[in-house]
Homo-oligomer: 454 residues x 2
């Protein structure tokens, strides 16, 4: 066989060996592998060996971009260019009480940005946007692409789940990674996130990369590494991408659980709600508006966002989206119409002092134990249960004072959730010496040129 | 689930993750994985991810021993304790013209050592003992364990192929490694070789680990690493193991090809044949006799071996084994009765000077191209074809003098084999400055205590 014939003739084993030996794969090799796998022409056992080699050998930036691109183009790429305004989405790497999407989509839309948002479900200790939305009676996250486009046209934002047409390679690869110990690779995480997000046809993307005890990336350096990778990958693909490294060392806001988090989002959109959640929403909105070309700066974007909340316009946009997606809009006016747990139980502080730390992942797990999340993908979710925190890190507390309220339905689930929660609060005589910032760093804002105003 | 329940409950994903993260697996974890895989309870895609993690993370000595042991015990372990004498085998990592097994089995048996030898077929550029034996008309390498035992009782040696009962885990794992780029790991190679060899029920094992351009381990340091690993693994399992690092920078002996190599072995057993092959056979025999407890030292073993050749006793033992395994014993007396190629072609030296090097792997490939080896496992082998070398490294040569004779059957295969062979000889005006030794090193002889004389 001539050398030219060999190079044309793709063999999975050669790509596996090359990555195993730490060599850089070409765009053609990565594309061939992903395309052949998506078409079912390469067995799982070859791809899982390759994935493990990627986990342990890493990838260069061009390889990461090529992988993202191949996964993106394995399915449909939405063309939203006929819709007005720049298209901007936000993606979070996941945390506990992390509910900003429900605020940001209508808020940015109200400012004139188009927000085509395709989200996921909760898995492990973190919640998922789709589960939260589905706690609104009637809300449909399974729209066709045509319906998605119509809602976007009507109100500027729409929130749905991944369709079969978007990045099928990612769905197939993710299922394999999940059972082969190959989830934990920044390169594979980056390609998975970015392929799905860029298939939405966005012009720009704001990434919220969490770090701390409740995040997948516990260490800030790991969060920064992933953020830089995603930003550069998006920029290589011609998109504006910025990443905020934000704190997940304690839950965001005070409410954890699907319907409870919808309530807290409505509170924020009413100009109420907890300060940390409000601040983070405005910061992320500032970036979305700025990259969306409707504000001259991030600061200006934040101001516009605050005004749209103060005027009730953002809340109205949320109500509109809920209605367009089949949800009961009366829940927005009266959140008591959302599913409510039958029972509540108060968790009292065992001591007086200050909250110095919270085991954030454990609090998320407590919510899963109550039925509010999934241990396995096939589990169903109880929309009503969850936890309301009365104290957060830095707060003073007296013995007997409420730390949290547990909202539960099944008596059988209460004890272990309560135990997890009790162990999650660290109380000491002195307040914590160091206060973690809400926003640790912003990455990629130099490379991310704001779009021209429309 | 309690912690105790979790630790009992084996999950393949946990073992994959642990190896991925560079942690040491317990004997229990390795055993559980191998047993579950052999029983078909774990899918290929999980095991291939684990294999790649092993390739890139390596294994500790206890892990390697545990893997070897689990693979060994996945099938039948022969108990040959009822047979007289110590049981000793020899294993080579494979090379070109590497045919010592056919000499060593009858030679060591003639000295009173029992040699239960289970061998493999050729793959890639190297030949296989079974293919060589099958060039003897009627020779049967597929004996049952009962037949194997009877031949051993009758003549002290028997040479067969792997049975379905011996180390089934290795067969399954090897097939998966072959298609997932996970062959090239000393830990996996060690476990594969040692599990099969120790399942033969031997007391001691002499390893011939090849290094040079015709070996799998081109670099001596890699050969030494593998040899040390196999020696220590065998010793951990209570066996006497010694490894000789021997030269494979040029073919061993002068004949390459199945029937041609049988002829050369008969020559050696007649006290003729090329000096390098004779020397290596005596060296390996010295170790087999010493570990087999029939000689007081390796030197004494070599002397005994030379005497058994000189007296014709070793050749007679070979004839006996051939007959007991269904082969035509007249081929031993008259090797012209072995399959012969229809045509021969002489390769003349293009220049005068000295042979300074030979591309040994390429010479092996030339033999495969002629039909004497396999490119894929399912290929059949032509017993008659091959190459006879007239010059080796260090030899002086005149322009036009024969370098090699090609024995071929198919005209269509000649041209490319000839081209490969032509390119394999390096000829220079001056002789090579450095002569590579035949035996580079001996490993494990301090740990390998010779057995008591019987």
């Amino acid at each position: 066989m001539s050398r030219a014939a060999v190079s044309q003739n793709f063999r999975a084993i050669d790509v596996i060996r090359k990555k195993r030996d730490g060599l850089e794969l070409s765009r053609h090799e990565i594309e061939s592998l992903i395309n052949a796998y998506t078409r079912g022409e390469i067995p799982d056992y070859q791809v899982s060996a390759w994935l493990m080699a990627v986990v342990l050998r890493g990838m260069t930036r061009p390889e990461t971009a090529a992988l993202t691109d191949a996964m993106l183009r394995s399915g449909e790429v939405l063309d939203l260019s006929s819709l007005p305004g720049r298209k901007v989405d936000k993606h979070s790497t996941g945390g506990v009480g992390d509910k900003t999407s429900l605020v940001l989509a209508p808020l940015a839309a109200a400012a004139g940005v188009t927000v085509p948002m395709i989200s996921g479900r909760g898995l492990g200790h973190t919640g998922g946007t789709l589960d939260k939305l589905e706690s609104i009676p009637g809300f449909n996250v399974s729209l066709t692409v045509a319906q998605f486009r119509r809602v976007l046209e009507a109100c500027g934002c729409c929130m749905i789940g991944q369709t079969a047409e978007i990045a099928p390679a990612d769905r197939k690869l993710y299922a394999l990674r999940d059972v082969t110990g190959t989830v934990e690779s920044p390169y594979l995480i980056c390609a998975s996130i970015m392929s799905k997000k860029l298939a939405e046809g966005v012009d720009a993307l704001v990434l919220d990369v969490k770090t701390g005890s409740g995040a997948f990336m516990k260490k800030e350096e790991d969060a920064v590494f992933l953020a830089e990778l995603m930003v550069e990958t998006g920029q290589r693909m011609g998109k504006q991408v910025v990443a905020l490294i934000t704190d997940m060392d304690q839950p965001l806001g005070r409410k954890i659980g699907n319907a409870l988090e919808v309530i807290e989002c409505v509170e924020i959109l009413r100009g109420e709600g907890p300060e940390d959640l409000r601040q983070l929403c405005l910061e992320l909105a500032g970036w979305m508006l700025h990259l969306g070309g409707v504000s001259s700066s991030v600061e200006d974007g934040k101001k516009q966002g605050a005004k749209l909340i103060g005027s009730g316009i953002a809340l109205e946009r949320f109500r509109q989206m809920v209605e367009l997606q089949g949800g009961d809009p009366r829940t927005v006016d009266d959140t008591r119409k959302l599913p409510q747990a039958r029972h509540t139980e108060m968790l009292a502080s065992p001591a007086s002092g200050y909250i110095t730390a919270m085991q954030c992942e454990q609090i998320g797990t407590a919510c899963v134990v109550l039925g509010g999340g999934r241990e396995r993908k096939e589990d169903s979710v109880d929309p009503a249960v969850g936890i309301v925190l009365h104290k957060k890190v830095g707060d003073a507390v007296s013995a007997g004072e409420p730390l949290a309220t547990i909202h539960y339905n099944a008596e059988s689930r209460l004890a272990s959730a309560r135990q997890l929660l009790e162990q999650s609060f660290e109380i000491a005589a002195a307040p914590p010496s160091h206060k973690r910032p809400l926003i640790h760093r912003v990455i990629g804002h130099k490379g991310a040129q704001p779009g021209a105003k429309n």
